[in-house]
Symmetry: C2
Subunit: 480 residues, 2 copies
C-alpha cells in the first residue's frame, strides 16, 4: 500500500540519468522551496526554501562573528557615478544593472543602480570611516539581495535577484588582505563540507575568470551529480584597486597616508541549488541535517488507537526540548503512506514512526532518508540517540559526495583526455597560464577553468592545450 | 580626571531641553549607529545600529514562530500592473515609488517599482498557492528593506529606504483575519514594552489615518521625551479588499469558492529611533539590556598591574559563557575615564570595572547607566548577579518611561485644553468620528489623531471639536 502510494507520488520526477536538468526543475518546483513570480527572472523563496537559507545564514554568521566580522546594512541603490569609478568593475557589471531613473513623479538627475554588488558603496563609506591605523582592520558583512539583469535564469542557480552575504574588509597591509581572502575561503570550504555536506576544491581563479576589479579571486568549486562544476563561493583580494579611485586612505604609524588593502567575499542562495544537485535522488531532495528545516518528521501510525497521539505529543516535546527541529505530522486527511512519500520528497533526513506496537515495545521505528535503512530506537533516551543518527547521516552524506567527487576527477595529459573527462567530471590538467589556452579549451569542450589548487605538485611539465612549458595545476570542468 | 574627560567628551551633544531635534541628531551621529550616504535619503546601518536591529529581529522572530508564522522572501521589484490593481493602494503609494525603467541596456516595457510594501506581490503569489480551506491560514512574514521616495528624511524616523518586517496572512473567515490583526498588534505591544522598554497605547486608527487599501488599521503609539507621538507599529485588516482584485480564492468546506480575508503588519528600523527618543539623556544613548549589543562593558583599571588583565579575561569568558553580551575594552591608548564616557554615550546598560583593589576584595565595581548608581558585586557567582541587575535595569527603564507617559497624557474637554495638552504630550479626547473634526484639530494644533483605545469608557458625551454627540475616545498628539 505504501509502495503503491509512493509510485503515485513520485511519478512526476524525471529520472536523473534521463535528463538531469529536468530532474532538477522537477525537484525544485515540487518541494515547495521556491516559486516563479511575475517579475522576470526573480523568484520567491517559500517557507521551506527560506528556512534552509536562514539556517545557512546562522552557520555562516556564527563563523563570521568568531573571526571578528560585524554585520552592517548598506543602501540598495548606488549612484551611477560611484559605479563608474573603477573601470574594470563597471565594465563587468554595467550590462546587467537594473536602473532606477524615476523617484515618485520626478525623473532623477542621476541614474541609481539596484546594487549588483556593493564594493562601490562600501568603499565610499570606508573612506568616511577610516582615519588611522588604529581603525583597521574594518571587517564588515551584509545579508541582502542583489540584482543582476540575467538573460536566462534557473531557480537558485542563476536568478536576476538573489539573496547573499557580501563581506567587505579593509586592511593596513597587502599581507593582511591576502590572509583575509584565504581565511574566508577556508570558512566557505568548512561550511560547504561540514554544514552542507558538499566537498569542494579550493583554489585560485585564472585572470580570465576573476571578479571584475579584483587583483586575485579565489573560489570553492563543488561537483554536481552530473559531473558539472558549481562555483559555491568566491573571495577577492582587491589590493588597492578600489581604495585608490575611492580614496580609502589611513594615517599609518609612520605618519604617512596610505591606501587600504581591500577584500570582498560572498556566497548566495545558489548554495541551495548545490545542495539539491549534490544530494538529491530519484525520490526528491535529501537534506543534510545541519540545514534541514525539519531534521526528523514524527508520524503517528494508527493515530486513532488509544495512546498513539498522546505518545507522539510527548516525544515531539521531548525532542524539541533537546534542540532538534522536529515536525509532528498529525494530518488526518492523508494516509501514513502518503506522508512517507511527501517527506521523502522533501528530503527530511529521518522519519520516526510511532504506532501501537512501537509503544508496546517501548521503541520508535525509524527510516533514514540517505540510506533508506530501517531500524528501531528505544524511547528511553531517544533525543540523544536521534542526535547520533543525525550526525551519522550528516557524515554519511558527505562521504558519499566526497567519494563521487574523487571518482569523477582525473588527471589528463592531452586535449582528447580532457575533452572526454569533462563529459562526466573534473579534469585536472597542467596549464601554461595563457588566456589563449583557456579559450581553446572552452571552444572545443565548453569546459572552463575552475581553479588552481593551493600547493599542488605539478604532475607533468607541459600545457594540456599548447604543449608548452606549464607549472600550474588547473581544474577544468563544465560549469553551472 | 574622569570628570574632566567627560566634559570634553559630551560637549557636542545639544541639551534635550534646548533643542530636542538637534539632541536627537547629535546622539544618532555620535554613537556610530548609522551614517548618511551619497544616496538621497538612504542611510547605512553601522555595526552598532545594525546589531540592535538584529536583536529586535530575534525577539520578533521568536514570537512570530511561536504564533505559527513562517518567513519567506519575495522579489524586491513589483511590476506596475500589480500595483495598479487596488485603487486606494496605488493612490497612496504611487507618489513615493522609485521606478526601475532600464535593465542592462534595454528600456523595460513595463516599469518595475522598488517595493514600497509588498501586499500586491504577496497577493499574486497567494492566488497561486491557495486552493482549498485546508491550505488556510497562510501566515507569512519577510524581513527586507523597502523604498519610499521621501521628500524630507531623518535618520531612523523617516528614510527613503528602511529595514522592516512585513507580515502577510490569508484566512478563511473575516473573524480569523480580525483576530490575527489584533494578535499581531498585541505582539508588537509586548515587544515594545518587554524588549524595548517602551510603553505604548494600542488602538484603532481613524479612517483618515489608516493604511491605503485597508479596511481597518490598528497601531501601537509610543511617546517620545518631547511629548510627541511615534507610531511604533501597525497591523491592517484588509477584509477582501485585496483578495478580490487579485482573485485570492479558496474552495471552502461547503464546496463554494470564497475570497480569502487578509492582513498585513509591520514594524521597522523606526523602532531604533523610538528607543533613542524614549530613553536617551544628556549623556547619550541608554539601551535596554534586551537589545543592547553589549549588555555590559568590562573595563580593566590599572591594567598594567599584575593580574588585572588575567582576571578581566577570566570574567569576560565566564560572563560570555553565561549567555551575556559582554565587551572587554582592553584598549591601551585611551584612559579609563575616556572609556567610561564613550560607553555611557553608547548607552551600555552596565559598566563593570576590575582593578587591583577589586581583585584583592574579590569584587567588581559596577555603574548602572540608567540610574548612575555605583555598587560592587562579588566575583563569586557574578554572572547570575549581573543578570539580576540587567533585569532590574530593563524593568526600571520601562517604569520610568511609563510614568512619563502617564504624566504626559491628559483628558481634555475642549479645543483650548487640547491645544495646550498637545504642546507637551497626548490629549485624550471624545470624538464624534467625523473627518472634519480631525482636520480641524490638525489645522489648529498640528496634532493628529493617533488611535482609539480598545474598550475605552467614554468620559464625556460631546466631541472635543464640534461639540456634537461623541462616543469614541481618541488620542491626539503631535507626531513624528
Amino acid at each position: 500500500m505504501a509502495k503503491e502510494k509512493k509510485q503515485e507520488f513520485v511519478q512526476h520526477i524525471t529520472p536523473r540519468d534521463e535528463n538531469f536538468s529536468q530532474w532538477y526543475t522537477d525537484v525544485v518546483t515540487q518541494t515547495d522551496l521556491m516559486d516563479y513570480t511575475p517579475v522576470r527572472g526573480c523568484m520567491a523563496l517559500r517557507p521551506y526554501g527560506n528556512r534552509i537559507w536562514e539556517l545557512i545564514r546562522e552557520h555562516m554568521d556564527e563563523r563570521f562573528r568568531e573571526t571578528g566580522h560585524e554585520n552592517v546594512s548598506m543602501p540598495m541603490l548606488i549612484p551611477e557615478s560611484l559605479l563608474l569609478k573603477e573601470a574594470e568593475h563597471v565594465e563587468g557589471f554595467a550590462p546587467e544593472v537594473a536602473w532606477v531613473t524615476q523617484g515618485g513623479n520626478d525623473v532623477l538627475q542621476e541614474r541609481l543602480a539596484v546594487r549588483p554588488t556593493s564594493e562601490t558603496i562600501f568603499c565610499t563609506m570606508f573612506a568616511k570611516w577610516v582615519q588611522s591605523w588604529r581603525d583597521l582592520p574594518m571587517k564588515y558583512n551584509q545579508w541582502c539581495s542583489v540584482m543582476r539583469w540575467e538573460k536566462t535564469t534557473r531557480p537558485f542557480l542563476r536568478t536576476s535577484e538573489f539573496w547573499w552575504q557580501e563581506g567587505h574588509t579593509i586592511h593596513a597591509t597587502a599581507e593582511e588582505a591576502h590572509e583575509e581572502a584565504l581565511l574566508m575561503l577556508d570558512i566557505y570550504r568548512e561550511v560547504c563540507e561540514d554544514v552542507l555536506a558538499i566537498p569542494v576544491f579550493s583554489g585560485r581563479k585564472s585572470d580570465k575568470e576573476k571578479f571584475a576589479g579584483a587583483r586575485v579571486t579565489y573560489s570553492v568549486e563543488a561537483m554536481m551529480q552530473d559531473g558539472k562544476a558549481l562555483q559555491a563561493g568566491t573571495t577577492h583580494d582587491f589590493g588597492t584597486n578600489f581604495s585608490e579611485p575611492f580614496e580609502v586612505r589611513f594615517l599609518d604609524k609612520d605618519g604617512t597616508l596610505k591606501y587600504c588593502h581591500e577584500t570582498s567575499w560572498g556566497v548566495s542562495t545558489r548554495l541551495i541549488g548545490a545542495v539539491i544537485m549534490t544530494h538529491g535522488d530519484e525520490r526528491g531532495l535529501r537534506l543534510p541535517p545541519a540545514i534541514a528545516p525539519f531534521q526528523a518528521v514524527l508520524l503517528p501510525i494508527a493515530a486513532h488507537k488509544g495512546g498513539v497521539m498522546e505518545k507522539c505529543g510527548e516525544i515531539h516535546k521531548q525532542l524539541k526540548a533537546a534542540g532538534l527541529r522536529i515536525r509532528l505530522d498529525d494530518r488526518d486527511n492523508v494516509s501514513p503512506g502518503w506522508k512517507f512519500n511527501e517527506w521523502e520528497l522533501k528530503g527530511v533526513p529521518l522519519r520516526i514512526e510511532v504506532g501501537p506496537r512501537d509503544i508496546e515495545n517501548g521503541v520508535v521505528t525509524c527510516a533514514r532518508r540517505d540510506t533508506n535503512e530501517k531500524f528501531t530506537l528505544p524511547m528511553e533516551g531517544l533525543a540523544e540517540k536521534v542526535k547520533e543518527v543525525l550526525e551519522d547521516i550528516q557524515k554519511g552524506m558527505f562521504d558519499i559526495a566526497d567519494a563521487f567527487k574523487t571518482e569523477r576527477t582525473k588527471d589528463v595529459f592531452n586535449m582528447d583526455e580532457l575533452e572526454q573527462q569533462v563529459q562526466t567530471g573534473y579534469a585536472r590538467a597542467m596549464w601554461c597560464g595563457k588566456r589563449e589556452c583557456e579559450d581553446a579549451v572552452k571552444e572545443r569542450t565548453t569546459a572552463t577553468s575552475r581553479n588552481m589548487p593551493f600547493d599542488a605538485e605539478p604532475f607533468a611539465d607541459t600545457c594540456v592545450c599548447c604543449g608548452e612549458k606549464a607549472e600550474k595545476v588547473m581544474y577544468f570542468a563544465k560549469a553551472y
